[in-house]
Amino acid sequence: MADYNTMELMICTAARELHDGVSVAVGTGAPCAAAMLAQKTHAPNLLIIFEAGGVGPLLPEMPISVGDSRTIWKAIMATSMTDTMETFCRGLVDFTFLGGAQIDMYGNINSTRIGPDHQKPKVRFPGSGGANDFGSFCWNMMMITPQDSKRFAEKCTFITTPGWLQGGDSREKSGLAKGSGPYRVITNMAVMGFEPTSKRMMILSINPGYSEKDVQDNCGFELLKAKKIKETSHPTKHELEVLRGQVDPYRYIIGR
């Protein structure tokens, strides 16, 4: 039995994608924990931007909102949402993390509704917020999410945020920024990427304790497989120390 939980593994895996000197647009929760962990370990020069206007804060603790005053704590700038979004659109933001109620094989995300009637939905979710904007503008979109066959859906009820749309070159053809798109899906069971031509979701590595069958059984569509599927690396002792001691001492996220 490993001495860390699944959430800690997902956060550490996500943090490793954020190398020093890149920029990341984050929301609250696990994405913010990953960014903080990266900043406090291997990426001290990570530029963190919050959509509401906080640029380059030295986060003293986990913000509750992407617009609360923690997001401008010792920050470089407190600006407008238009300014941050325009910065994303100009191509200055490398990474972002999103979540959602449904994700399909092309990385399209639903965070709007379940049920066929838009004016009277069975379940209403918040909607895009900044998710569609992030998914449209950031070079590499990542998802951190638990995995099951309902959430990883054959078809999203509603595409709130663009992934690779219908695959192939459909994303670029729609008018969305060239070279931007889904990059990684980090789940409790595995790390997925996207096959370069078809843009279909593809298993890259499997988390300790899970099998290829587990990953496929908990997915509503057929996953492609990388030529060589690796085991996801364990968190290091140092990563866990920083995560538990400095990033999330009250276990708001890692206690979930």
Binding site: S65, T71, T82, T112, R124, G127, G130, G175
Partner: protein, 330 residues
């Protein structure tokens, strides 16, 4: 201009730039004292059936006192900009103030969870909706602030968010690139909470400005609520600090702690305990009705409401929390 694709969502306001100019032509340029009570400002400028927008970001520098007053005065049938809205949306949905909504972000309170009551309202079929994104609505306000009828931006294309919006997909006349055209949004009335204002409405925001810079300029009528009044001399001492000039403003209301129970940067942090209580009580509609009576309808004003939740002592604690002084933990 050729339109390649068009959303089916309704546009609740008129995007015509000349019609907007005709309104702004009549707006006073005189620097007059606009100080009034919040009650008076809401009664005078927030009208049934009109389009309402709220500044700030959900529970951050949001004019919560004004949201309570709008519900207290039982304003109805409004259209609402559900733009980065969280606790403000929760309050206005509780009062069923709006029945049309431009949606970017609604029913959620970010990391705190989803509002059961706002969800029930949005799932009831009583509210006509159009889908947008945070940036789409910001861009619509920006177009209005620019005095033009639309701006082209580069999101939503290929998604259902586009399909259920009122946007149109167009081609750049210079490069052939596709863009989503966002229609200008001129709200009939908006409320923005600021740190400091003078009696004429010249306002300072010591925080992220979210969309408030454009919102202030796009709004046909604007109510400013402020933590504290300052003199006009103080405004003139550092004019580079003015975010909103007086000629955008119709009413100025002095409302200390006006963003409570939300955050006001460099003033007080959010009252998470009370926000949690609010989310929890919404699970039971009968209990929530009593809760609304106690917290809104039976309160005379915002201070009355704050006093229910610890008054000055609570605000001092939240001030220490905002500055992370941590004196409460020892």
């Amino acid at each position: 201009m050729e339109v390649f694709e068009q959303g089916i969502g309704k546009i609740f306001t008129d995007p015509d730039a000349d019609n907007a100019r005709a309104h702004f032509k009549t707006k006073s340029r005189a620097m007059t004292n606009k100080l009034m009570s919040l009650k008076e400002a809401i009664a005078k400028f927030v009208k049934d059936g009109e389009y309402l927008a709220i500044g700030g970001f959900g529970a951050n520098r949001t004019p919560i006192a004004a949201c309570h007053e709008i519900v207290r005065q039982k304003k109805k049938n409004m259209a609402f900009a559900g733009h980065t809205s969280t606790h403000d949306f929760q309050i206005l949905a509780a009062g069923k103030v709006f029945n049309k909504c431009d949606i970017a972000y609604i029913v959620g309170l970010e990391a705190r969870g989803l509002s059961p009551n706002a969800r029930r309202y949005m799932e009831s079929g009583e509210v006509e909706v159009s889908e947008w994104t945070n940036y789409s609505l910001s861009a619509r306000l920006k177009a209005a602030a620019m005095g033009i009828s639309f701006v082209p931006i580069r999101n939503v294309m290929g998604t259902d968010t586009f399909k259920f919006s009122g946007a149109k997909r167009i081609k750049c006349p210079f490069t052939g690139q596709f863009y989503a055209a966002m229609p200008a949004l001129w709200p009939d009335v908006s409320v923005i909470h600021v740190h400091e204002a003078d009696v004429y409405g010249n306002s300072r925001i010591r925080d992220i400005t979210v969309s408030d810079w454009d919102l202030a300029r796009a709004s046909k009528h604007l109510i400013i609520t402020c933590e504290r009044l300052v003199s006009n001399e103080e405004i003139r001492r550092t004019p580079y600090e003015t975010q909103i000039p007086f000629f955008c403003v119709d009413a100025v209301c002095e409302v200390p702690y006006g963003a409570y129970p939300g955050v006001m940067a460099y003033e007080y942090f959010s009252d998470e305990e009370h926000l949690r209580e609010w989310l929890k009580v919404e699970e039971n509609p009968e209990e929530f009705k009593k809760f609304l009576d106690r917290n809104i309808f039976n309160c005379k004003d915002h201070m009355d409401y704050i006093n229910l939740h610890g008054g000055t002592e609570k605000m001092m604690m939240l001030r220490r929390k905002e500055f992370m002084l941590n004196t409460d933990k020892k």
